[in-house]
């Protein structure tokens, strides 16, 4: 899986309430309605700055807080290709993989707003084209890569008819 796009930089501890505020996410499960509010408490109008395939790049503990899957879903719906962070909160990480949004653990300190990035999940690297730098990512297990390739756990389950990973190993 290769992904190319520009970096949008955020800090540490971006919680799920910042990703999409509770006041919207309870009233609907329609992501089209929610998507315009993505990150609006941190960066008003962020949704309108995104080009398809762009990356959210953050520090530690991205996605802490609630278990609501609306957070990664809204990010995916907005056209973000992957989230790159130094670390993720556990449930966010799970949810992201499950819905087919790559959550990539990598040292993001050197990445700046607007940098052009290329991510190769199989090779386990992030190329910062702007800075001419290669960063190694924390590798994903083959099971997780397969879930991502298929676009999420739902497609995985439909394809394999179960959660048994060994079927394709």
């Amino acid at each position: 899986m290769q992904l190319i796009g520009y970096a949008h930089k955020f800090g540490d501890n971006v919680n799920t309430d910042y990703i999409i505020s509770g006041k919207y996410k309870f009233a609907t499960i329609d992501m089209n309605e929610l998507v315009v509010h993505l990150m609006e408490d941190l960066r008003p109008n962020f949704y309108y700055e995104i080009k398809k395939g762009d990356f959210i790049v953050a520090g530690e503990n991205f996605g802490c807080g609630s278990s609501r899957e609306q957070a990664p879903l809204v990010i995916k719906q907005a056209g973000i290709g992957a989230v790159l962070a130094k670390s993720f909160a556990r449930i966010f990480f799970r949810n992201a993989i499950n819905i087919g949004l790559p959550a990539i653990e990598v040292s993001t300190d050197s990445i700046e707003e607007g940098d052009s990035l290329k991510v190769d999940l199989e090779k386990g690297i992030v190329e910062n084209i702007t800075k001419n730098q290669v960063l190694k990512i924390h590798p994903l297990s083959p099971e997780m890569l397969e879930i991502l390739k298929l676009g999420g756990l739902v497609n995985f389950y439909k394809k394999y008819g179960s959660l048994e990973f060994k079927k394709f190993n």
């Binding site: 919680n15 309870f26 009233a27 499960i29 278990s67 739902v154 959660l163």
Partner: protein
């Protein structure tokens, strides 16, 4: 020789029928699963997308309407209706408005038991670790797949052990303990890890008070906050279940990623300041900060003991005229017991507003959204910006005693002078 194991490793090994260690990715038969009204609608939609026709076992699933209960809008009502229809079709356990908060109901109704693996589509599912249950929060897709298949993928977690020694001083409660621990470990201090809490402090706490600690394990990133099932837990479980269960303790020599030792004999009441949970101070550093709203309730501190402590402080007194005190009991049975014991009468006489058992204003969709610039003192577990529905309000987290004392004075107050 068999390797020494943590509680989590033992529970996973027994479920799989083979020895597993931390770090392994495994597929597990889940013992019980739960969704609330913020996560179930999406799970139901995904369940349908997967093409599942019925749930794998209707007796292992519960849904709870607690986050927006009763519904504040027609849109939310439509989602609640979706859940009720799903319940009618699949005959699962269902708790409707007024029954209580999912994390109170799971253990209270005997759905979460020691030694089980329980998932909930809510981040504070880690709460039932207090009764030796491996319980953890997942998302809606996880819940959907688990409802269809009975299974879920997990990584067997590494464990961090937290040993709490000493005698808690007068006026210091389990909420103060966990706020202190989160300050020490930070919001990221146990990410992906299971936590095992032990020591004299835990032994001396009631089961209700222990839930408060396990509930907030996720605020340091933990997957679950486990404690052993001692006699108090077994006593607490009596009359809640007739099912058999097995209890687990870690082996001597088990591998811990880290062990923390704290002596809490001199702990003061703690307060978490806006806008992160790990931004914690001792009471003396925040005393005097004016407040406009108090919240007594939530899955952290909405149990009978919590309401009783607040009532003891508020008895014969009045909530300050500049403060609204909102009380949301954790469950219908909590409310009934509190009525029986005169606790509710005391709180109402003091000027508190009682709302339906449930999440109340904790998550900011209804029941008491603060105004711009207002300060709230709350017994909840999160104080993120916008958490209570207004990103220009400020939320302080504290024990029920501190919240009650602060509501009398209209400013953050050390509760010890009222006890």
């Amino acid at each position: 020789m068999r390797k020494a194991k943590t509680i989590s490793e033992k529970i996973f090994s027994d479920h799989l029928g083979r020895d597993v260690e931390a770090g392994e990715l495994v597929i597990i038969d889940v013992d019980f699963m739960m969704g609330q009204d913020g996560t179930s609608p999406l799970a139901i939609k995904t369940f349908e997308e997967v093409g599942a026709s019925s749930v794998f076992d209707s007796k292992k699933i519960a849904m709870v309407i607690d986050h927006n209960a009763p519904s504040p809008s027609e849109k939310v009502s439509a989602l609640h209706k979706l859940m009720r229809n799903f319940k009618d079709q699949n005959k699962i356990y269902f708790y409707d408005i007024g029954d209580g908060i999912c994390h109170q109901l799971m253990p209270e109704q005997g759905h979460a038991l020691p030694g089980q693996i329980v998932i909930g589509a809510d981040s504070h599912t880690c709460t039932y670790g207090a009764i030796n249950c491996f319980s953890t929060g997942v998302g809606s897709t996880d819940l959907a797949i688990a409802m269809a298949s009975g299974k879920l993928w997990f990584k067997v977690p590494e464990t961090v052990k937290i040993v709490l020694n000493g005698d808690l001083p007068f006026g210091v409660y389990s909420k103060d303990v966990i706020l202190f621990i989160i300050k020490e470990l930070t919001a990221n201090g146990a990410t992906y890890k299971a936590v095992e809490f032990e020591g004299e402090v835990i032994d001396n706490l009631s089961v209700q008070a222990r839930f408060t600690i396990s509930n907030m394990a996720v605020e340091m990133g933990a997957k679950v906050g486990l404690m052993k099932a001692d006699d108090k837990v077994l006593e607490w479980l009596k009359n809640r279940t007739s099912d058999e269960f097995k209890t687990y303790e870690s082996d001597y020599g088990a591998q811990y990623e880290k062990i923390y030792n704290f002596d809490l004999s001199d702990l003061e009441p703690q307060v978490s300041k806006p806008h992160t949970v790990d931004n914690v101070s001792s009471i003396k550093d925040v005393e005097g900060i004016p407040i406009q709203q108090g919240l007594l309730g939530t899955c952290t501190n909405g149990r009978l003991e919590d309401l009783k402590i607040a009532a003891k402080i508020l008895k014969g007194k009045k909530v300050n005229s500049d403060v609204r005190l909102i009380v949301a009991p954790a469950s219908r049975s909590t409310l009934l017991e509190a009525i029986d014991e005169g606790v509710i009468q005391t709180l109402i006489k003091a000027g508190a507003t009682i709302v339906a058992p449930g999440c109340g204003p904790c998550v900011g969709t209804h029941n008491g959204v603060p105004a711009d610039g207002e300060n709230v003192i709350s017994t909840a577990n999160r104080n993120f910006k916008g958490r209570m529905g207004n990103n220009k309000a400020f939320i302080y987290l504290a024990s029920p005693a501190t919240v009650a004392a602060s509501c009398i004075e209209g400013k953050i107050t050390d509760p010890r002078k009222y006890l």
